[in-house]
């Protein structure tokens, strides 16, 4: 039918309405929504398969299998299987619960009821059973769970208002109209299901869900591979050693120890030894590493959930960490991609100020006659005398009301214009209240303002507009409607008032309008210009307002020409545009309006702080360029101090390329000449970029719109785009489709290898939220899609600051500290086996008791490091917020990287050397205090184990910078646990029960009563910890980090309040002209003049005025006459899916 254009792969969809048998031939997907992964039967195999796909789990399985081979088993099997089973079960349970909830929500959606026409009868049917081609009847306020084609509705002209909150988070109603052919068909809303289930636009547009891993995870995978390689090397060395030893020494030792069966020659023995050592040395990467990481992340997630400072009492919404595996990445964000509407702005427009005839209203003057900023103390203007006033509207300047009372004609004219020149539809609800249906919230704000000041727009017909002017009803004849479009940037109405005068009322962008003014306006123009600059400087959206008196004859001539032009086939639009130009001149300036696109609370401070943390913020919005720029200025992302703002708005690939090239020339002009880079390859380019980045002085901004972006994302210009964009301090992409948002994110991810965060509130942000490393959803809104797809959610944009600067930074800091310690600990723990190998004929004899090996990572040392990983703080949360620069180490990956890993490894190796060779030396030729043997293997094992536990405990004590009670309990507790477990396992009682499992009977008692052993343990501790302290002390002394300095400063002035860092003024100051903004789109004029959206009867709609509607990306035309980018987005979606 109509859909042939939609899909490139599925070229055509043939559907016969209401004919299931026919439609079944094509095997279209059913309408069931599947987001769950498993069912009862498939859970175990699929889940296990998935789990063992993780390198770590597979590795441990492999080790377990090795351990079960008796020939090479050097460790008992329980050392691996217990933790492995534990991990697998834990993960499986978590996956199962997640999936259970997914099943639940799927069922909820699938089982919603709809009315479907089956066998010529309307029947209730679950949404999941709706088939392609079914005719569905919808009532008012029903959920829609499929893509539908509107056939007909009960409204006049088969219009239908839909809310797309779950699609794009926008709560205003959008108009759809049925094809005229079908519109005659029925009285109720009837729709034809078109795409079902996985084919729906929503699912197709939402991008692919990928398992997100943090960069630390990826680094860890690499490191585990390296470690494994390292182990193989050690294994090979030891295996060769074994072969040589067997050949040289062991051969002669056969008298005492025969060859075991199957181990008949040195080479084969070496081969077996290799595997034995692989098993022994595997404790460098124990499973507990992965478990601990999960536990730490879980802890951090809970801290986010529990944070009262991220709790929004307005909607009683706490912050929520929906993913528990990404926390430390929050501390490494370099790019934030933010949606605008609902994220940065509240989606509320308010009429703030106006300038009428050179007089400014809306500023509050105190008694001294000084301008002050609005404070709560000021009383708002009382509108209660006006019964039609909108209660939510507030205005603080009483002088305007006074001017109205005085009967200032200019003010009347101003307000009249606001009440007349717009596209708003009005209706009355059952309570007799006037309700405005607005397409552009700016207009809504203006019309509401006029309403409150006594110029109440009551109703309209295609030919008339009725306004109640200060109590008297006046009906104006609407003669012409000069619609808005992007080029004109203005709209006008021509009306005849009851007195018979014809007037043209015009509102539009000041830059355009001021050129059309009558020369007599010059003084007023200057005054108004000043006012406009002032408004714009405050980030308000401004419009200039003007009128023109027309004489009858002139208008008639003009009207005739317009009708002729309308009848033309060729060049119709050009001619009409020319005619509009013709009549909109010699205008008389009335003044200007200033509307505030209300930012969310704290947005400016947050953006300022995040910029100080060197996080680059890109705004990706479906909004128009002007609106987006306006918001950019309003929240201080764009400033006057910027050296240049590049605007890319070309419509063809060639134009875009040219614009990009120019911008780059401009940007690199002075720099590139010095860095003779003509042709740079990609790898060098990155390096070069960082050089150039430093040499560029001043801030730049880039603004690019969706059309240009589509071209710019083509492969050959991609590089230019990313290079340019990354040089700029601020990037604003406007008019972008959901898919483009994701593409931009992918672009930065792939080309900059930077960690990205996407934040948004609507379904149009879902794809971007999914493709960014971290997706954040604004919760507490009506649409849930963004939150459901997100990794973190909270109610206000300003919480992002705390999420990143405090939680993210801490998470990263803690995780890195944890990893550094963990690797150190396990290298120290494990490598002693390697050294011992040289003294035990490379026979794969472990240094420690098997029990110690099994318990060391789980029981003796896990809790202190967990406590550090969960609770540690280098500086307080307040300092983290005060000094955003503290965030930088995370972005630069400074705290845990390959270099740091080698340091940990060296530290571990050093400790293992000390741990092994000091006891080795001390045990040489030693005897106990009563002359007895103390240099036996078991005593050596106990000495080493005790030294190790004490050394790593001292080390964690040094590493822990924030000693809470929990840390104390865990550290002291672990040492105590070690000794009690040791004495228990070496006790007579347990030996009596299991003589072969606990052969170390009496060892702890005997060894640990020897002074000599304690002297060894003490020396080992001193020798292994001392160099670390020296190193750290000198590092803090010589190269202190910012965090060191802050800590030192806080220590020295503990009582004084911490010095606050110098922050730039968050006060906006801008002399920018034209904060012009119209948020609405072309085409409504036609709707109004044709009267197609007028109702015969007015059933009150459900939405009240508090739902101030708003409009951005157009979904309207999508059904039948939509543009190329939708086609491309669909086809791209399809390829992603395949």
């Amino acid at each position: 039918m109509f859909c042939s254009k939609k899909k490139s792969l599925e070229v055509e969809r043939t559907v016969k309405a209401n004919d299931r048998e026919y439609n079944e031939k094509f095997q279209y997907a059913d309408n069931r929504i599947h987001t769950s992964k498993y069912n009862v039967l498939t859970f175990l195999p699929i889940n296990l398969f998935e789990q063992f796909q993780r390198v770590a789990n597979a590795y441990f399985l492999f080790l377990l299998i090795l351990q079960l081979i008796p020939e090479i088993s050097s460790l008992t099997w329980f050392t691996t299987i217990v933790p492995l089973v534990l991990v697998i079960t834990m993960t499986a349970v978590k996956d199962a619960t997640d999936d259970y909830f997914r099943h639940k929500s799927d069922n909820q959606v699938n089982n919603r009821l709809s009315e479907v026409l089956i066998n010529s009868k309307l029947q209730n049917e679950k949404w999941m059973n709706v088939k392609v081609g079914d005719i569905v009847k919808l009532e008012n306020n029903q959920f829609v769970a499929a893509d539908l084609l509107l056939l007909s509705s009960s409204e006049p002209h088969s219009l239908c208002y839909i809310e797309t909150a779950e699609l794009d988070g926008e709560t205003n109603l959008k108009v759809r109209h049925a094809l005229s052919v079908t519109s005659e068909l029925g009285a109720d809303i009837n729709r034809l299901a078109k795409f079902d289930g996985p084919d729906t636009k929503l699912i197709q547009n939402s991008g692919k869900t990928k398992l997100k891993r943090t960069s630390i995870d990826r680094l860890l995978n690499t490191l585990v591979l390296w470690i494994f390689g390292f182990l193989v090397c050690l294994g090979i060395i030891l295996a060769i050693g074994n072969s040589i030893w067997e050949n040289q020494v062991g051969d002669q030792f056969r008298t005492f120890l025969f060859w075991k069966e199957g181990r008949k020659n040195p080479v084969f023995s070496g081969f077996l030894t290799f595997w034995s050592y692989i098993i022994i040395l595997n404790t460098v990467v124990p499973i507990s590493l992965y478990v601990s990481m999960e536990v730490i992340r879980l802890g951090h997630s809970y801290f986010i959930n529990w944070d009262r400072r991220m709790y929004y009492s307005g909607k009683s919404t706490p912050a929520e960490a929906r993913t528990t595996t990404l926390n430390e990445e929050l501390g490494q964000i370099e790019y934030i991609f933010s949606d605008k509407t609902g994220t940065l702005t509240q989606n509320i427009m308010t009429f703030k100020k106006c300038s009428i005839n050179g007089k400014i209203y809306g500023e509050v003057h105190d008694d001294m006659g000084q301008k002050t900023h609005m404070t709560k103390k000021n009383e708002p203007v009382d509108f209660s005398v006006n019964p039609q006033a909108d209660r939510t509207f507030q205005f603080f300047d009483h002088r305007l009301m006074e001017s109205i009372k005085l009967g200032d004609s200019k003010v009347y004219e101003f307000l009249r214009l606001l009440a007349l020149c717009h596209t708003v539809m009005s209706e009355e609800n059952s309570a007799g209240q006037l309700i405005y249906q607005v397409q552009s919230p700016d207009e809504g704000a203006l019309v509401t303002a006029a309403r409150n000041f006594g110029f109440i727009f009551k109703s309209r017909t295609p030919e008339t507009i009725t306004v109640e002017e200060l109590g008297t009803l006046v009906t104006y004849q609407l003669l012409a409607f000069l619609d808005f479009n992007n080029i004109r940037k203005r709209m006008s109405v021509i009306v005849r008032n009851p007195e018979g005068q014809i007037k043209l009322y015009c509102k539009g962008a000041d830059t355009i309008l001021f050129e059309k003014l009558h020369p007599s306006n010059e003084d007023l123009l200057n005054l108004t210009t000043d006012h406009l600059s002032e408004f714009a400087g405050e980030g308000l959206r401004t419009l200039a307002i003007a009128y023109r008196d027309l004489d009858d004859k002139y208008f008639k001539e003009w009207h005739k020409m317009l009708e002729d032009a309308n009848a033309l086939m060729d060049e119709r639009d050009e001619r009409i545009a020319g005619l509009y130009e013709e009549i909109e001149r010699d205008l008389m300036l009335l003044g200007a309006t200033a509307v505030e696109d209300k930012l969310q609370e704290g947005v400016i401070e947050t953006i300022t702080n995040l910029s100080l943390a060197h996080i680059k913020i890109w705004v990706l919005t479906g909004d128009k360029q002007e609106t987006a720029i306006n918001i950019g200025y309003a929240c201080n992302m764009l400033t006057d101090d910027m050296k240049d703002v590049f605007i890319i708005s070309g419509n063809t690939a060639v134009e875009v390329r040219e614009e990009l090239r120019k911008a780059k020339e401009n940007l690199f002009g002075q720099n590139r000449s010095s860095s003779n880079g003509h042709v740079v390859f990609e790898k060098q380019q990155l390096e070069l970029d960082s050089v150039v980045e430093e040499t560029i002085t001043g801030d730049y901004a880039l603004i690019i719109n969706g059309h240009s972006l589509a071209h710019a994302l083509e492969s050959d210009v991609k590089n230019d785009l990313i290079e340019l964009a990354c040089m700029c301090k601020t990037v604003v992409c406007c008019r972008v489709t959901p898919l483009q948002k994701a593409q931009v994110v992918e672009l930065v991810k792939n080309y900059r290898h930077a960690v990205t965060l996407a934040i948004g509130d609507g379904a149009n942000d879902v794809s971007m939220i999914k493709s960014a490393h971290i997706g954040v959803g604004i919760s507490g809104q009506e649409g849930l899609q963004a939150v459901l797809a997100s990794d973190y959610s909270f109610a206000q944009f300003r919480y992002l600051q705390r999420l990143l600067l405090v939680h993210g930074r801490w998470s990263y800091f803690r995780m890195c500290k944890f990893l550094r310690y963990f690797f150190y600990k396990n290298f120290a723990f494990t490598l002693v086996h390697f050294w011992f190998g040289f003294f035990c004929g490379f026979s794969a004899q472990t240094v420690y008791d098997q029990w110690f090996i099994a318990l060391f990572n789980i029981v003796y040392t896990s809790l202190p490091v967990l406590a550090m990983g969960i609770f540690d703080q280098d500086v307080s949360d307040q300092s983290s917020m005060d000094y955003p620069q503290l965030y930088e180490p995370g972005q630069l990956n400074l705290l845990f990287n390959k270099h740091k890993f080698f340091i940990c490894m060296a530290h571990g190796i050093y400790t293992s050397l000390v741990l092994f060779f000091i006891p080795y030396g001390a045990f040489y030729n030693v005897a106990g205090e009563d002359g007895q043997l103390i240099a036996d293997y078991q005593s050596f094992a106990v000495t080493m184990a005790t030294s190790l536990v004490i050394v790593v405990s001292v080390q964690i004590a040094l590493d822990t910078s924030y000693w809470t009670v929990i840390n104390h309990v865990f550290i002291w507790g672990s040492i105590a646990t070690y000794f009690s477990v040791l004495f228990t396992m070496h006790s007579n009682g347990i030996f009596g029960i299991f003589p072969s499992q606990f052969p170390f009977v009496g060892n702890a008692r005997h060894s640990l009563t020897q002074k000599c052993i304690w002297l060894v343990i003490l020396l080992t501790t001193v020798a292994s910890v001392m160099p670390v302290v020296v190193f750290r002390f000198l590092k803090v002394d010589l190269f202190p980090t910012l965090s060191d300095q802050i800590r030192q400063r806080q220590k020295s002035q503990k009582k004084a309040r911490p010095l606050r860092s110098q922050r730039p003024q968050t006060r906006r100051s801008s002399s920018r002209r034209s904060g012009y903004a119209f948020a609405h789109q072309e085409g409504y004029g036609e709707l109004i003049t044709s009267g197609r959206n007028m109702r015969a009867k007015n059933p009150p709609p459900a939405s009240g005025l508090e739902k101030t509607p708003y409009n951005s990306t157009s979904w309207i035309e999508n059904l039948c006459k939509k543009t190329t980018d939708t086609v491309s987005s669909f086809s791209q979606d399809k390829t992603v899916k395949l």
Binding site: K260, W306, G928
Partner: protein, 356 residues
Amino acid sequence: MKVPSTLRFWTKMKRISEDYQSRLPDNTALKQQQLPAYRLQLSATGVLSGFFAAGAFCLGMGIILILSAKSIKEIEVKYTKICANCAELREDATNFDKECTCSIPFYLSETMKGNVYMYYKLYGFYQNLYQYILSRSNSQLLGTDLKDVGNCAPFSNSHDGTPIAPCGAIANSIFNDTIILSYNLNSSIPIEVPMLKSKITWWTDKYVKFQNPSSINLSSAFAGTTKPPYWSKPVYELDEEDPGNNGFLNDDFIVWMRTAAFPTFKKLYRRLNRIQYFIEGLPAGNYSFNITYNFPVTRFKGEKSVVLSTLTWSGGSSLFLGLAYTVTGAVTWLAAFSMMAIHLMLKKKKMLFIQD
């Protein structure tokens, strides 16, 4: 009328506030990450004083240890080469029944005061091999189940299938030389120096870990088992004079069964019985070791020696620990001084910077 409505109002309010509170996170120190805590920071004074103290302690301890190690009197006589003929004889396992003795005279120039201990020392004997350490049966040695020879391969059963007691490679390879120290009081009549063979094992080994099977007659208790292949006599004939030193409870056997950590090791063999001439210890003079040479070491290119040694407060400590302590102490002080120098220099610089 009034009361219920107020009540309803309050319950409603309560419900609302509960509702409201249920989503508001608790304001506890733990949940808000505000736990009272001590912020550990390495301060210059703390670190430096710690280092100086640790250095002083280590140096002091090092010197004490070195002095006490020096005070130990020790004599070691390697007898593999001296008894070369015996060593040669033992190279061939078939000569196991031929006895070979060897006497090694030596002169003790200084009296060894106090308790004197006699050790045997083996060089290059790997008691720490994985397969070797494994090759024993603790439950057999506990006397509960003589037939349990689980891990004892390759010495678990004899050719005819009877279980070996004590089984395993460790037991089989027991050190079986007899060493007798004699003192030449008047250059002509050698007196056998009285030695104790008790209390040379760990208490737990002797009384917990090793037990003979319960029976009146030890030899009948071991019926159904056979002696290890390298042994000349069965386990119940190890010391027929002293039942408390026979069977698995034999002290020499227990000492051997406690495997050494490194291939060179010394194990306690006898203690000086301080009676008669030897109340003060071993007086200076001429002595000789009379050794019945059974244990073959040349097969694995090893060596054996006999050691006489006294002890100090920390046991028979070697010089290593004292030296290690001294070096550590010295390095710690060195580090402390250099850290102090660097710290003071930086401080001065900062001061200058501020003055500028």
